[in-house]
């Protein structure tokens, strides 16, 4: 099952690369997305209760990876469908040619492949390779337009992430060394086997390894102060790719950190990992707060908001306990719905206004009735106002902070999120309301072209609203099982 799941995106990528007609490529893209979505249901539902293994235990899925995989699948399929309209309209405007379209879809599916590979790998070195491959593939997507800004963003992205991932590799070497000294002779790199032997390992070695891993994957996850690549990359990439980068890639990397937190908690006193996560989380939130307030580019604002939310997820994991972890995992899903939604709607704004400056966009609701309204709703959600889903998960994390008596975390969290609330709403309110500053009347008839992206946006809004009010039974069960994987009960 896992093998098929890995094969489909690869085949789709190859097919897209060797087609020469835009229509054909778009149909391949849509069929590929549909098949991936259907094919992922079986392994996800199979692995919820008992882990499944594949290829000599190198790949495996338990409840936690099933949960992350469903997030990856959801956003990937949404981004693939949205790409049809977005790249289509850039093609019609003559910004890109058929060669770039082929190239884009092939890279998009390679990117999805590397993320799926990361999520289903049991071998920690294969996970590392998959994350490094996501850097390589997505840096090509970040530099897609080949102009000054995007090449600069791609360069910073690949250099910073590769350097920190090299440090992460050292962490993996150290873990391998520790496992070899426990098992006497050949060590192991399989996470499931490591988990059984970690409590015999030397705690000092594990501490050192965890530090390297945290720095390595933390840069990719967007932790401050090693976040500098993130706003550049997210703002320069084509919109569907920004949605993938911010919606799932940083969570895939954080997923790697979670795997090592589980290992760390087996052998160390549990405060070690959680203190580190709390520090990085609060720092990320604080730095993001400052930059969100001063921002004048809405794509960069969304990128900084991603740093804030990865910080919130880290805080949830750091607080720990059932509700802390539950809230962090739920927040991963909620952020993966709302942030792509914001990227999708602002992508439509960008196609209309041809600018990414906040001050130059006025009256988006009048010009784009659906996308503008949804943008405002999603901005409310991302700022954390009730009754949206982000509020629910942030509330859960805060409740866990109070239960655990983490008053400093609680106070800082409240302070940062209040300031961010004001900042985000001021910027997006200014964009949504007011008198439109572009002539939009004669362009109205073209709106029929963008049916697909509208469908994606409407479906995602519906999910966002539902999740704000209640959590369906199957999702609750998935979350409970994933929390059990992390706490080891």
């Amino acid at each position: 099952m896992i093998g098929i799941l890995l094969l489909i995106p690869l085949i789709t990528a190859v097919l897209c690369y060797f087609s020469n007609n835009r229509r054909v490529i778009e149909y391949i893209n849509l069929t590929g997305a549909a098949i991936i979505a259907v094919a992922s249901i079986f392994p996800i539902s199979a692995s919820l209760s008992t882990p499944i293994f594949f290829f000599r235990g190198m790949f495996f899925m338990d409840a936690l990876s099933a949960y992350i995989l469903s997030i990856v699948m959801f956003v990937s399929v949404a981004a693939a469908i949205y790409s049809v309209d977005y790249m289509g309209s850039e093609f019609k405007e003559g910004l890109i040619g058929i060669k770039e379209i082929r190239y884009f879809y092939a890279l998009l599916y390679l990117f999805i492949f590397t993320m799926v590979l990361a999520v289903v790998s049991n071998n920690i070195a294969i996970f590392w390779m998959a994350i490094e491959s996501t850097t390589i593939v997505s840096s090509l997507l970040v530099g897609f337009y080949k102009d000054r800004a995007s090449v600069e963003a791609a360069w910073k992205y690949i250099i910073l992430c590769t350097v920190s991932l090299v440090f992460g590799l050292l962490g993996i070497f150290i873990i391998y060394y520790a496992s070899a000294s426990v098992l006497v002779g050949e060590g192991t790199l399989n996470w499931t086997e490591l988990r059984e032997i970690t409590h015999d390992m030397n705690p000092k070695t594990i501490k050192l390894a965890f530090l390297f891993i945290l720095v390595g994957y933390g840069a990719k996850a967007g932790f401050a102060p090693i976040h500098n690549w993130l706003p550049d990359a997210h703002s320069q990439a084509p919109t569907p790719v920004s949605a993938l980068l911010s919606g799932v890639l940083i969570k895939c990397s954080f997923f790697g950190i979670i795997r090592f937190v589980i290992l760390g908690n087996e052998s160390l006193e549990s405060s070690y990992c959680s203190h580190l996560l709390l520090i990085f989380g609060l720092l990320s939130m604080g730095i993001a707060t400052a930059f969100i307030l001063l921002q004048n580019n809405y794509k960069r604002l969304l990128a900084y908001s991603s740093i804030e939310h990865i910080g919130i997820i880290a805080i949830g994991m750091g607080i720990g306990g059932f509700w802390g972890i539950y809230g962090a995992l739920l927040h991963m899903l909620n952020h993966a719905i709302v942030k792509p939604l914001l990227f999708f709607t602002t992508g439509r704004v960008r196609l209309k206004y041809h600018t990414t400056e906040i001050g130059k966009v006025k009256g988006a609701i009048t010009v784009l009735p659906v996308a503008g309204t949804v943008m405002l709703l999603a901005a409310l959600a991302i700022a954390g106002s009730p009754p949206f889903n982000i509020f629910l998960s942030e509330y859960t994390i805060l409740k866990a902070a109070i239960d655990g008596g983490n008053w400093i975390t609680f106070a800082l969290f409240i302070a940062f999120s209040t300031i961010i609330f004001g900042g985000v709403l001021r910027h997006f309110g200014g964009m949504a309301f007011g008198k439109p500053n572009i002539d939009h009347e004669h362009e109205k008839e073209k709106n029929g072209d963008n049916k697909m992206s509208l469908i994606v946006i409407v479906v995602m809004v519906a999910i966002m609203l539902v999740l704000g009010l209640y959590i369906p039974g199957f999702l609750n069960e998935m979350l409970n099982n994933s929390v059990k994987v992390i706490t080891g009960e």
Binding site: W155, V166, L208
Partner: protein
């Protein structure tokens, strides 16, 4: 029978060579000579793996030595020199710091590594010096990345860092399983190729390969 490797301190000598080839990078003025230093470094690295393979008689270490030589010793340097030739720009390195200052800082880095790793769990493996040297090489690579202006020297710094950490991992674990080793080398190779592609694009967009000109994105 294989005692001569221990008796003649072959492994220690080679690892000192690796350290020196990293230190010498601080003084080199031309990009071509920097690439030569990298070639020297990688060849020494694979020779070291080869000697350890003889010492332990482990088949997969022979393969690892060969793979290191093929990718790091031959393929990557060839690709880098091709890019340098393509650039046709001033081939000097233009560091931010003077040679003597950066040499001094490299020396200080080596001292720091030697004093801080004097004891503790990490002094293991086949030689007490290899781990310290490898960490020092990685730090010098990082230092080169920070203080050089040209895009290609950043790539070289990254490669030195990677060599150093590869050596560190090797001294800890006698190499990873061969399939993992292969995957990591492949990833590294792809990474260098993509970086090369971006160097060409930076040259085209900014009409220089100075990283100082990458200042469009801020805030």
């Amino acid at each position: 029978m294989k005692n001569w490797i221990d008796l003649l301190y072959v492994i220690d000598f080679i690892s000192v060579g690796i350290l020196l080839s990293a230190v010498v990078l601080n003084t080199l003025k031309r990009l071509e000579s920097c690439i030569k230093a990298y070639i020297f470094n990688s060849w020494l690295l694979s020779i070291l793996v080869f000697f350890v393979a003889i010492k332990t008689g482990n088949l997969h270490l022979y393969i690892a030595a060969f793979l290191t030589l093929a990718t790091k010793g031959i393929l990557i340097p060839m690709f880098l020199s091709k890019i340098v030739r393509q650039m046709k720009v001033t081939r000097t390195v233009e560091p931010y710091l003077s040679n003597s200052l950066s040499l001094t800082i490299s020396g200080i880095l080596v001292t720091i590594v030697y004093t801080s790793l004097r004891e503790g769990i990490l002094v293991t493996g086949f030689s007490v010096h290899v781990l310290k040297i490898s960490i020092a090489v990685a730090l010098i690579g990082l230092f080169i990345m920070i203080t050089r202006r040209k895009a290609i020297t950043q790539v070289l710094g990254l490669l030195f860092m990677e060599n150093g950490l590869f050596l560190a991992g090797f001294s800890l674990t006698f190499g990873m399983p061969i399939i993992i080793e292969l995957g990591i080398l492949f990833d590294m190779l792809m990474g260098v190729i993509i970086l090369g592609v971006f160097i060409v694009q930076i040259r085209r967009n900014f009409s220089s390969v100075d990283l100082d000109s990458l200042t469009t994105l801020k805030g």
